[in-house]
Amino acid sequence: MTVLQKKAHNPIGHLTPEDIEQLGVELDAIRQSVIDTRGADDAAYIRKVIDAQRKLELGSRAILLISMFPPAWVVGTAGLAVAKIIENMEIGHNVMHGQWDWMRDPKIHSTTWEWDNASPSEQWKHSHNELHHTYTNVIGKDNDLGYGIMRVDEDQRWVPFYTAQPLWNFVNACFFEYGIAAYDLELGKNLATKERRNNPEFRARAKVTLKKIRNQVTKDYVIHPLLSGPSFLNTIAANATANLVRNIWTHSVIMCGHFPEGVETFERKSIVGETRGEWYLRQMLGSANISGSKAMHFMTGNLSFQIEHHLFPDLPSNRYQEIAPQVQALFAKYGLTYTTGSLPRQVASAWKKVIRLSLPNDFGRKARAKVLPLLPVTPRSEAGSRAAA
């Protein structure tokens, strides 16, 4: 994709400023309808999910105490992987968004929640809630566009490092929780210079992250294996597998949110003086949904309703499904494309983009142009040739 402002056919060219403000008013009305009916049923829902998730985790970890028996290993590992996914997605991500703050329950509140993940919630909330959700898909502002290790848009400048981005993406998927922690610390930027490395603020944050990682690793790879006695090694393998499954699943779901084909990106200067209506419009075009079963929606933490989530990041996740048809109707009314597809299709689309953009934009054309004159390799195309090798 190319930033929307440079496209030959502008997908919002047909909308007047008045249309965009009216769109904002209609979206505000949808938001208000949920707030007006938010109540005891929603509170019961999240409490039930938390209750069930904790019992599933306890039960799975109990079964893993005898993980030397293969059936116990399989059942316990599967249960723990599911419990960790629910904890990160439907519970952690959404609670930390403040979706349940309205209940005024200090135990289920964005300011107090800590999740089963390497990144401390305080740092994740900053990079995710404040930066990504505010600057969604604005090139140069939203680091979620490739997490600083990949190029996922034609308008991001190619550097040779990106040649291997399919590999980076795969490694990131396997160790996603550590990828998030490094990303939230802005490790790439902060390790770059001595001055940044020694910045006390960065060092303090890094210390918090290292402590969180130490606690997480001790739990999964020391305490629970020790409690398993003779099943020590089997439990280590089980917990590593559960973490791996959780990492790959969450990475895949999150890739589907903004990377598939059809999602628009925006120029940095396009958001100067942006109105509420324009902000809504950017969220609508900058996100993609995943279609599927109720169980799939639940296991993605309802991030399969990425468009609805980006429009209303603080509405309870259990309500996204209900408002999706109304949101989709607004897309139709205003002549906009509601990007959605099945999980395999969207994952494939996102991966295709990661692979395609690992090469410079004009790689195909240049390579052909170079072949004909049979000239020696110029420094400019050197990187491209290396990429092809």
């Binding site: 505000d28 306890l58 703050d101 209940m103 809630n129 739990k219 305490i223």
Partner: protein
């Protein structure tokens, strides 16, 4: 010379402490309590909670709620009140209610609630609360208690202000199936109750008071506004001729208590009062916002109008504020409102916090989309 003096050896953590630490390492980032709460929320060591065991109506719009408190309930003295947190429409609301029994043999506690028109929590408790519901509690508080060594007293109660007094009277004169039990310790008390209510059927516990009056244990003077007119405190000397010999305990709305205070001060009489709702909230446009640094004791006051987010007003005044997206989505700017009212600039919805009713830590508000709707106190 011994080098191992016991005083210099570091204390080894107890076995219990080490087990707790192990459990914490196994449950991080949660706490062992988060898992134990799934199975026994009333156990020792848990946050103080209670379970409603019985709801029985007192009048058409009042009910007594019997609650089994958690294991760490420290007990109470008749006349004290308890802060109770209930979820109404999914939202945790805290209110203070008098405990209407003395300590009971079954260990339960009870509150009696009158459904106030428009009262969110009281209406919910009277009409919607069901046995089995979990509620949140704080330990009993309050100085409004009956001295234990007897004496001559006057209770002046208005409306639901009768509830702490009922707690004291039930403790003094327990009512069994066979009638009022006459305890030896009760003989040291001489009690007159002046009870005021808009009209007779609205009086909760009036039957209890009458039964005690019939048994000659107290003297009841019931005054109903529709029958006798609104009580003038100057009439007390007529209603209670030996007023000057009595210590007065009064519970009711602020207006009555203020009048009583002036009346008693002028005559040099003892008065102990209890008022549930201390301040009346004024929801206006804009106001002063006090930032009270917790611990430091310093207060910064900012003038904020009704159209400017508190975040902007505070920053303009030089307060270092947490902030994020500044449009109400990221919750990076949330601070606890301890007192006052704020208006959501997007919806116009008003959020209020009242000391004594709002949970200790305050109501979390998003300062970037909230404007002052009256004087506010924010913990920051």
């Amino acid at each position: 010379m011994s080098l191992t003096a016991p005083s210099t050896r570091p204390d080894r953590p107890s076995l219990r402490r080490r087990l707790v630490r192990l459990a914490e390492r196994a449950t991080t980032p949660l706490l062992p309590a988060d898992y134990l709460d799934l199975f026994d929320p009333l156990r020792p060591g848990a946050d103080l909670r209670g379970r409603i065991v019985e709801v029985h109506p007192e009048t058409a719009d009042a009910a007594t709620i019997v609650i089994r408190p958690g294991a760490d309930w420290a007990g109470h003295v008749p006349g004290q009140y308890v802060r109770i947190g209930v979820d109404v429409d999914g939202i945790r609301q805290w209110r203070a209610y008098s405990l209407t029994h003395g300590p009971r043999p079954d260990g339960n506690i009870s509150i009696t609630v009158k459904a106030v028109p428009g009262g969110l929590v009281s209406t919910h408790l009277v009409r919607e609360s069901r046995p089995g519901t979990l509620v949140h509690l704080e330990q009993a508080q309050g100085e409004f208690v009956l001295p234990t060594d007897g004496g001559k007293f006057l209770f002046v109660t208005a409306g639901s202000g009768v509830t702490p007094v009922i707690g004291m009277l039930r403790n003094l004169f327990p009512v069994a199936d066979g009638g009022v039990v006459r305890l030896a310790r009760a003989t040291a008390y001489d009690i007159v109750v002046v009870h005021v209510a808009p009209s007779e059927p609205d009086s909760i516990f009036i039957a209890n008071l009458r039964a005690l009056d019939d048994a000659g244990l107290i003297r009841l003077v019931a005054r109903y506004d529709d029958e006798h007119g609104v009580l003038d405190v100057a009439d007390l000397e007529t209603l209670v001729p030996d007023l000057h010999e009595r210590a007065t305990l009064a519970c009711g709305p602020g207006g009555l208590l203020d009048a009583l205070q002036a009346h008693h001060d002028a005559r040099g009489l003892d008065l102990l009062t209890e008022q549930f709702r201390v301040t009346t909230l004024v929801v206006g446009e804009g106001g002063t916002v006090d930032f009270t640094g917790s611990g430091s004791g310093s207060v910064t006051t900012v003038d904020a109008d009704g159209a400017t987010p508190i975040l902007d007003a505070a920053e303009a005044a030089g307060v270092l504020m947490p902030s994020g997206c500044r449009m109400g989505i990221c919750f990076g700017c949330v601070l606890p409102l301890k007192e006052g009212a704020v208006r959501d600039l997007r919806t116009g919805a008003v959020t209020t916090a009242t000391p004594g009713e709002t949970e200790g830590s305050g109501v979390p508000i998003q300062t970037c989309i909230s404007a002052a709707a009256g004087p506010c106190v924010i913990d920051h």
